[in-house]
């Protein structure tokens, strides 16, 4: 946004007349010249800092239609603009607008807004995003059980993550809602409605690529068990090994340091049929055994830190076809 040329404001400083030369002239000439006072700048700065935060739409220079178009160009997606505008309308906004109009005392026809909610679009978007992400993870980590995939998908569609992604795409400026700043569940609903609008406008393939590009990078640097809370990793490990017909693991201390000090370090290794499965460190023997079980689970599920990074090269055509079939 650019502020253009401004008309030159000529500074007006009415000059004082001649200084009082004789003692006979009275006190009027000691008045300071009219013009800006010294305290004015500091006062205006204080007013500016103490002003309550305002929505972007209430500040000068705002054109909603142009902003929505720019939003679609920024994402390099072609949206149907009316669907996109519907996606930004939240139910709390409609209620607050109708209440305001009722307070102003308009007729019944004028009160009812002709706007549609974004709840259906949000539900569609959520369903599509969850299904698509679940399919992606099933393809990429085939050994990961259903609970793990569900935990990953829940993390990626959680309020904090989706609302932070939406804030960085400036969805909070375009979304129409009652409160300012918009609460995270409103931002989540708006962003999922945008995904739903994209699904309706461009089809499941492009929406799949969009979801992949914005959600999967949020997993970078995250460990599996930060996202998926597992209470008893040893029990889970024993289940997994029985499924693969491997004998139960035997824990043995591999290394230990500082046993008689305040900060001991124990490395516990899990052995199946005398062969090492995984090794994990810990402060106490129990903690070390649990950590070894977690390391073993990470190796079994293929979610180690040195796994191949995610493949963003080409959209998976098979997925798109399955999506279209399953959503119908």
């Amino acid at each position: 946004r650019a502020a253009g040329p401004l008309l030159a404001r000529a500074g007006r400083r009415a000059g004082l007349g001649t200084a009082p030369s004789t003692a006979l002239s009275t006190a009027l000439s000691t008045a300071s010249p009219p013009g800006k006072k010294r305290w004015l700048r500091a006062y205006l700065e204080l007013q500016r800092l103490q002003a309550p935060p305002q929505r972007r739409s209430e500040k000068p220079n705002w054109d909603y239609h142009a902003e929505v178009q720019a939003f679609s160009h920024r994402l390099q997606e072609s949206f149907a603009l009316d669907l996109l505008k519907t996606a930004f309308v939240n139910p709390c906004y409609i209620e607050s607008e109708e209440a305001r109009r009722r307070q102003l005392g308009l007729d019944k026809d004028a009160i009812a807004l002709q706007l549609q909610d974004n709840t259906e679009l949000a539900e569609q978007g959520l369903r599509f995003a969850r299904a698509y992400l679940a399919q992606c993870f099933e393809g990429a980590y085939p050994e990961l059980p259903a609970k793990g995939i569900e935990a990953l998908v829940n993390f990626l569609t959680s309020q904090e993550l989706v609302s932070s992604v939406a804030q960085n795409l400036s969805v909070q400026d375009l979304a129409l809602c009652r409160d300012f700043p918009a609460p995270p569940d409103v931002l989540q609903r708006t962003f999922l409605a945008v995904i739903g609008a994209l699904l309706e406008s461009s089809g499941p393939e492009r929406t799949g690529i969009f979801v992949r590009d914005f959600f999967i990078p949020q997993l970078i640097g995250k460990d599996l068990f930060e996202i998926w809370e597992v209470v008893n990793p040893m029990g889970l490990l024993v289940e997994e090994l029985t499924k693969r017909n491997i004998s139960a693991p035997e824990p043995r201390i591999t290394r230990q340091l500082g046993v008689s000090t305040v900060l001991p370090v124990y490395f516990v290794g899990l052995y199946c049929d005398r062969k090492i499965l995984a090794e994990g460190p810990g402060e106490t023997l129990l903690a070390a055994e649990e950590e070894a079980a977690r390391v073993a689970l990470r190796k079994l599920y293929g979610y180690t830190e040195n796994r191949r990074p995610w493949d963003y090269s080409k959209p998976k055509q098979g997925l798109a076809a399955e999506k279209a079939i399953s959503s119908n």
Partner: protein
């Protein structure tokens, strides 16, 4: 000058950058000087004075601002970053030490 920019180059700039919304208005900056105000998606706002710049310079400046992300312009400490600093596992003092369980001694040799 900003007048020439608005008359000649502003429309072309807006057409070439469809993802940027260009507002042209008098009297809307913080002070009396003509200012190019760039508002980014993450909330940063950057003001640049354009009073004594030619039209081409303003176009260049606007293109530069449009191509930036809104991250703060501070000194980059190091020009490299990796999310996977270690592939085989980070070294710790016990990495290459043999474990307690390796048995050594004459018993192995006789087998």
């Amino acid at each position: 000058s900003p007048r020439e920019f608005v008359e000649e180059a502003a429309q072309d700039f807006a057409r070439q950058h469809p993802d940027v919304v260009l507002y042209v208005s008098p009297h809307s900056g913080p002070g009396p000087a003509p200012v190019l105000r760039a508002e980014y998606l993450n909330g940063t706002v950057r003001d640049e004075l354009i009073a004594s710049k030619t039209s081409e310079e303003i176009v260049q400046l606007a293109t530069k601002l449009a191509n930036q992300s809104g991250l703060d312009i501070i000194r980059i400490r190091k020009p490299f970053h990796t999310d996977n600093p270690s592939v085989q596992g980070q070294w710790h003092p016990l990495t290459n030490k043999p474990s307690i369980l390796t048995v050594q001694g004459p018993r192995l040799q006789s087998q």
